[in-house]
Symmetry: C2
Subunit: 380 residues, 2 copies
């Protein structure tokens, strides 16, 4: 049996894949037992030629669209473009999401992943920082194993946002004959100095929390403050724009009775909002897993190349490159550089820019703007 | 005697001013004894009408230009536009810099300031977080006292970068009949939600360091890691641009022998550069003082107004508003909004934009680009 297809309008089921043997990372590490979750929407056609792989953004999961049950408050992150007749048409395509190795949301009760928070069979204790470093290529290999399990060897497309977009580039370089189309959204094939400097601080925030304890906090006090700060920094970089933040919060106080001028404990509304968001999310995020996927972001240069153009050279897939206008963490200029490289080397490439006031996150929340462009691209 | 004038081409002398009585802050706090340093370049004319006040950026001091001695490695921060015949012409104007209250560089051996790191006469121990909150208006009042001491009541101009620029706006609103011209550089009259969210993380980094200990670290272990992280966050926001960082560092490793893929301890060159810069600066910065001036930035809305336009209304000074094109922490759109408000209400205002690859810091390092505009503005 292949993954049971579930129509978007129905309920979505998390399935679990376990690799048949030890997994060797690109860096030479070995993980004895890799288990990851995956979700399937739509059905594979007879030729198994209609599969679309959807690698997810960093702090997300294989839950692309739909709900697990009628009680679910929110559907998957790209629900707005998934369903019968939608750009990611579940009557036409078989959509496959896979939980990333070291998925940060390891503690959300739904995501299934293997990483630092998993038990090391050799010791019976969580790996912690003894888990081998992972990179984007490792995620691609795990996804490839899931696809093989489903009997899929050819991909109609790989489409993904942010970290997921990096995986679309890596797929196109690693397996050019398997990937017909890529749709990298709010992403880049080249994590340069600007992004490296910003991402490093997310890791630094966790390391600064004494509860982190070199990664050995399992069974003890959790590094909640450091992790919350790391997530706030992520949201500051990925959600705030000067115009959007001002329109929503301006200089309002978190509590109208408590003037920030009176005490350092009195905050502004924008800060309280970000803190609540981060603190809530921190409850389901494992700090070490977050460190590992952040590091995988940092380690990413497509194909391991030493320049962007060198990396792009072996891409043969058609590409629809999508950027978000107000994105500060992976600015549109990065997506534009990738698009330009593709055009220069003669690829079939299209560029689309999403408008909005949520910065990087417009690539998730405002994806419907790109719906027609995605539908047309997938159909040709 | 007034502050002895020292020509720029000669050596600059730090002078000390002590307020004659207790200082009451805008928030109602009382500081028994305020001492601040100041520096004077050029001479006051007979009418005392040629004084230009230069409030400094946050992590800087009254040392605008020149050197303290022949051994000094670097001159003051705006040396490029200060001197005989220069835009800030020391043959023509008397330039006055004043060390801010709570100046972060309290530990550099030169800056003279009063703040959390100072001894509280009531206890004989450093104030720590018991020092009263300060705001931009408080800095203006201390400067006003220094000017009174020098016999200056009318200012030809107030010119300042970043935090110093906020003080130029506040001067124009608080004492419209005393200020003929303002030159806010890479600044804003309105610290909105976007900036509030970013600045809060600088404070959070310090608070996360267990050595900070609620501000009582004097005589014990210093919160070096938290302060270093805060300064790195500041540099990430104020120095890095996508293009500038990529051109200088791309994905180079800090140590060519140590691949970041092999260990979390192996860093990229851009991160090592920022860390070295921050770690070096942290040696002369007091963490609590830094918290206080950051907070003063956050508290700033010119004149305490509830909208930018309301705040600008009482400004009568001519204004030259200068922005830096790649500035991410106080983007040119902020300076442009201030300029637009001035024009709309009929003020004599000019806008100038500096190009460069150092973001916010171009307002300091590339100020020479604005030299002619400054000279012309000051002369009319």
């Amino acid at each position: 049996m292949y993954g049971a297809a579930v129509a978007y309008s129905g309920l979505v089921e998390k399935q679990i894949f376990e690799m048949p043997g030890p997994f060797r990372t690109a860096g030479g590490g070995v993980v004895e037992r890799v288990r990851v979750g995956f979700e399937v929407l739509g059905e594979l056609d007879a030729a198994r030629s209609n599969a679309i792989l959807i690698p997810h953004p960093n702090v997300a999961s294989s839950h692309v669209a739909g709900r697990y049950g009628p009680q679910d408050a929110l559907p998957g992150y790209w629900d707005a473009i998934v369903g019968p007749g939608c750009p990611l048409d579940t009557d036409r395509y078989c959509l496959i999401g896979v939980d990333a190795l070291c998925n940060p949301k390891a503690a959300d009760g739904v995501t299934v992943t293997t990483g630092p928070s998993s038990i090391d069979p050799a010791t019976g204790r969580p790996y912690g920082m003894r888990f081998p470093t992972i990179c984007v290529r490792d995620l691609v290999e795990v996804q490839r194993a899931v696809l093989a399990h489903l009997g899929v060897t050819q991909l109609h497309a790989v489409i993904g946002a942010s970290f997921g977009g990096m995986q679309t580039y890596e797929w196109a370089v690693a397996y050019p004959t398997s990937v017909a189309r890529i749709v990298p959204v709010i992403s880049t094939p080249w994590v340069g100095a600007y992004v490296l400097a910003k991402l490093r601080e997310l890791r630094a925030a966790i390391a600064l929390d004494p509860n982190w304890n070199g990664g050995d906090y399992y069974g003890g006090a959790q590094p909640v403050e450091g992790l919350t700060m790391a997530l706030r920094l992520l949201y500051v970089a990925a959600v705030l724009t000067p115009e959007g933040a001002e329109a929503s919060y301006a200089r309002r106080w978190a509590d109208p009775q408590r003037d920030p001028a009176d005490s350092f404990d009195n905050e502004y509304a924008v800060c309280a909002w970000l803190d609540a968001l981060a603190r809530d999310r921190a409850q389901v995020v494992d700090a070490n897993n977050f460190l590992y996927t952040q590091r995988a972001n940092e380690l990413f240069a497509v194909g391991g190349a030493s320049t962007l153009k060198d990396g792009m050279r072996s891409i043969t897939a058609k590409a629809l490159v999508i950027a978000a206008r107000g994105d500060e963490i992976l600015p549109p200029s990065f997506a534009r550089a990738a698009y330009d490289a593709l055009v220069e080397q003669g690829n079939d490439a299209t560029f689309f820019e999403i408008a909005g006031s949520m910065g990087h996150l417009d690539g998730v929340l405002s994806i419907a703007q790109a719906g027609e462009a995605i539908a047309a691209f997938l159909a040709r």
